[in-house]
Amino acid sequence: MMSIRPIQQIRIQSKFLTLPNLFTGGIQGNKEGCQIKVRSYSNSAGTTKTAHITETGINVDGRDLLHVETRNMCRCEKCFGKFAHQIQNLPPVGNAFPGIKVEEIGKLSEHYVSLKWSDGHEGLIARTIRGDFGPGKIESRVRDWVDLARRKNSDQEFWRTPNEEVKKFWDYSWVVSSVDNTREFLVHYMKYGIALMNGVPAGLKMEDIIFEGLKMSPLWASCYDLVDYVRFKPDPKNLGYGSGQLPLHLDLPYYYAPPHVEFFYCIENTVKGGDSFWVDSFAAITKMTEERPDLVEILKTVPMTYRYTPPGSGVFQLTHHPLIRTVEGDLWRTVESRWSMDTAQFARDRDLETRKKWWEAYLYYRNLIEDPSCWFMKKLEGGEIVMTDNWRVYHARKEFEMTAEGQERIVSTAYMDWNSMANRLLSPEKGDFIFLEVDQH
C-alpha cells in the first residue's frame, strides 16, 4: 500500500528548468518503505500524469521505458535535428549509449518530460505521440494509420472470397479532388491489397495519374523502364506482351527486392477475352496455416530460384526467394511467378528430400490459390486503373484474341515502393512545416 505525502506546488530550482511551471511533485513510499520520487503534471482538464524512475528505467504515465531507450529518445535540439528530425551528434563510439541511466526526472509538460542522464546530458523525451511527431494532423494520422502503414496484419483485411469492398470502384476525379479523398482511397488499398479506379480521363498517362493526380512519387524503375506499355507483339521477350493466358502470379520475383505497389492502367481493351483476375494470398496462407502449418513452414524456409533471361535483351536476372516471408509473426510478403521459376536450378541447389517437401507444400498452396471461388474477375475497360499489393495480391489474365481489325489491348504498368505510397497517407503537404514543440516545454 503506497502512502503519499501531501502534494505541494514546488518551484524547481534545478538548473536545467529555466521556466516557471505547472510542475508538482511529491514523494511516494511503498510498503517496504522505499521512496520513489514522483513527478506529476496536471493539465487544464485536471488530468494528472506522473513519471518516476524505476529499476530498469522510468515509468511515464504508466508506460515503462528503459534507461537506454530514453537516452536514444532525447528530443532536445542538440540530439534531434530540428529540420531533419534525425538523431544527431552521436558519439563515434558508444552511439547506442550502453550503460546509461536516467539520474533525474525534471519538468513535466503536457507532451514532454525533462530528464538528466548519467552521461551528464540534460534533455527531454516525448510523452505523447504529439510530442514525438508534432502537432495537428500528423499526430492523428500517425495514431490512426501507423500500424496499417507498417503492414500489420491486424489492420489489414484479408479476403478469401471477393466481397463488395474488394470489388468497389472509386471515381478517379473524386479520389484526386482532395488529399483526404486520396488518403481514404489509399487506406482502402492498404487494407485490401487492391483498389480500383474508373473514370480516368482519356489521354491521361500513367505519370499524370500518379504524379499529378494521386501526387505520389517516385516510381520504381525496373528493367521494363519506369512505365511500361504492354500490348501484343509477336515473339515476345516477356509473356506479358503475348496474348496467351497468364496464370496467377506476382510480378518481378527475379529481383531480390520485388516492387511492392503495382499500378495497372487499362488504356484500351477492345479485344475478345483478356479478363483479369485477382486473389488474396494472405487469406490463402492463413487458411493453410490452420490446416497444414508444417507445409507453411516449408514455404517460409526453402527458397525457389527465379530467373528472367530473355536472349539478346542484355537482361539476366537470377534470384532465390522463399514463397512466404513473415515479420513479427505477420505475413509480410509472398513472392511467386510460375513461369519465372527455374525448376532445374532449384533441383541442383536443394537435396531431393527438401524438394519433395517443397513440392508437396507448393501444390497444396497452389490449390488454395487456384480455387475459382476465391478469384475476383473483371474484364477491365479503358480508363480503369488497378493498384495491387504485389507482395500479397496475385493477378492473372485470360487469353485474348483480336477478332477484328483495330482491336487492341493496351495496358500501362508501373511500380512504386510501399513507403513512397504510405508517405502520401502520413505526411503533411510539402512546405507545411510541422516542428516539434520542444520550445513550448
Binding site: 508506460r63 528503459l66 537506454v68 531507450e69 536514444n72 529518445m73 535535428g81 530540428k82 529540420f83 531533419a84 538523431i87 544527431q88 552521436l90 563515434p92 563510439v93 552511439n95 523525451i125 516525448a126 501507423v146 502503414a149 507498417r150 517516385p218 516510381l219 520504381w220 524503375a221 519506369l226 515473339d235 521477350k237 503475348g242 493466358q245 496464370p247 496467377l248 527475379y254 511492392h260 527458397p303 530467373r307 533471361t309 530473355p310 536472349p311 539478346g312 542484355g314 539476366f316 537470377l318 532465390h320 522463399p322 515479420v327 513479427e328 513461369w339 519465372s340 527455374d342 532445374a344 533441383a347 531431393l352 507448393y362 492473372a396 504510405a422 508517405n423 510539402k430 507545411d432 512545416f433
Partner: protein, 426 residues
Amino acid sequence: MMSYVTRLRPQLIFKSQFARKLGNAPELSKVLNNAVKLTNRGIEVDGNEFLHVETRNMCKCEACYGRFSHQRTGLPYRGITFSDVKVSDVGKTSDNYVSLKWSDGHEGVIARNKRGNFGPDPINSRVEKWFDLTCRRNSAQKFWSTPDEDVTKCWDYSWVVENQENTIEFLTHYMKYGIGFLVDIPRHLGMMEIVEEGLKIRPVRRTCFSTVDLVRFKPNPDNLGYGSGKLPAHTDLPFFNQAPHVQFFHLVENTVSGGESFWVDTFPILQELSEKRPDLFEVLKTVPMVWRYSPPGTGIYQLSRQCVVKMQGDEIWQTVDNPQSMDPDTFARTTSLEDRERWWEAYSYYRGMVEEQSRLFYRRLNGGEFVITDNFRVFHARKDFFKTGEEEERIVSTAYMDWNLLASRVLSTEKGDSAFLEVREY
C-alpha cells in the same frame, strides 16, 4: 541427319525413324542406360535424381519454354504445377538434353546441365563461375574483419570500363568484398555517365532523394548527410521496407578539412555474434526496430519496421542499421518491454563490435574517386568536416541501384547478342 521437322519439334524424336535407330544402336543404348534411368520417384540423370513433377516443370521444348522470353509458356489457369504427371518414357540423350515423355501425353526435353538450362558460352561459363556470388551466397563472399589489400584496392576507372571482362572483374570484386573503389575518374563525368555509360548498368533507383543526389553542406539541413557533422557507421535508407542495395558514392570535390570516410563489414561481425552470443543474434533477427524519416516541410514521411539482421535460410542476407533514423519512441509504443530489453541488450553488444577501431577502414576520398558499397552489408560513415577557407567544398554525388541489375551486367551478354537454348540443335 535428323529431318528439319524433327529438329524443330523435339517431341517428334520419339516418332522419328532415325531416333529409333539411335535408340537401338548398341553403343548409345549403353549411354542411355548409364546416363538416364527411370526411378520410383522420377528419373535419374547423370546421378542426379529429379522428381516426376519437377521434370515436367523443367521442360525446355518450345511449346513449354518461350524461345524469346525464356519463360514457361502455355500454363493453364489451374493445375499449372502438373502435380500428377509422371515420366513415362526416356528418349534420346545428347550432351545437354534428355528427351522425355510424360503421362499427360506431352513429349519434350529437359536440360542435363547448366549449358542446356541457360544457353551456350559465354552465358554458360559465367553462370557456372558467378552464380553463387550473384545469389549472394556467403560461401562466395569474402568477409573482412579488418581491411586488407583487397578491400582497399583502388581500380583505375578507364581500365574498368574499357571492356566487359574488366567491368566484370571489378564488379565481382565488389560483390565479394561488399565494396569497390574506382579512381582517376575524368572530372567532367557525372554519376549517370559513370554508372550508365561507363559501367553500363541501369536503371538507377529513384528514392525520396531523387535519382542522383548531390550532397553538399547546407545550413539547417533536412538530412544530416547535408550537414558537416560526423555520421556514425550506418546503412542508408532503412525507412524503406526495401532499402536500396547498391550504393554509388562519387566524390566530386573534397577540399575541406576532415570529412574522412570509413567503412566496416558487418557480416563477419554477425557471424561472430551468432557464434558467441546466439541468443542476442536471434533477437536481432526477430525483433524489428522502427525506422523513420520525416523532415518537417518536405512532404516526406517514411516509416518502416525491420530487423537489424535478415537471413535467407542460413545465409546472412542483410543488415539494416542507421542510428540517426531509429525511432525508439514508436518502437517503445509498439513492442513489449521484455522484447525491448532484449533488443537493446543485443543491439548495444553488436554495436560495440561494429565500433571496434580495428575493423574500420578509413580513407579520405579525393575528387574523382568513386566507391560502390553493398548497402545490405558494409556500413559507411564520415568524420566531421569544416571549411577553413571560403572556396573549400565537400561535394558528393550519391545514387542507388538494385542488386540484380548489377548482377545482370556480370552474367549477361551484351544487348543484341542472343544466346538461345540449343534445343533446336538437339
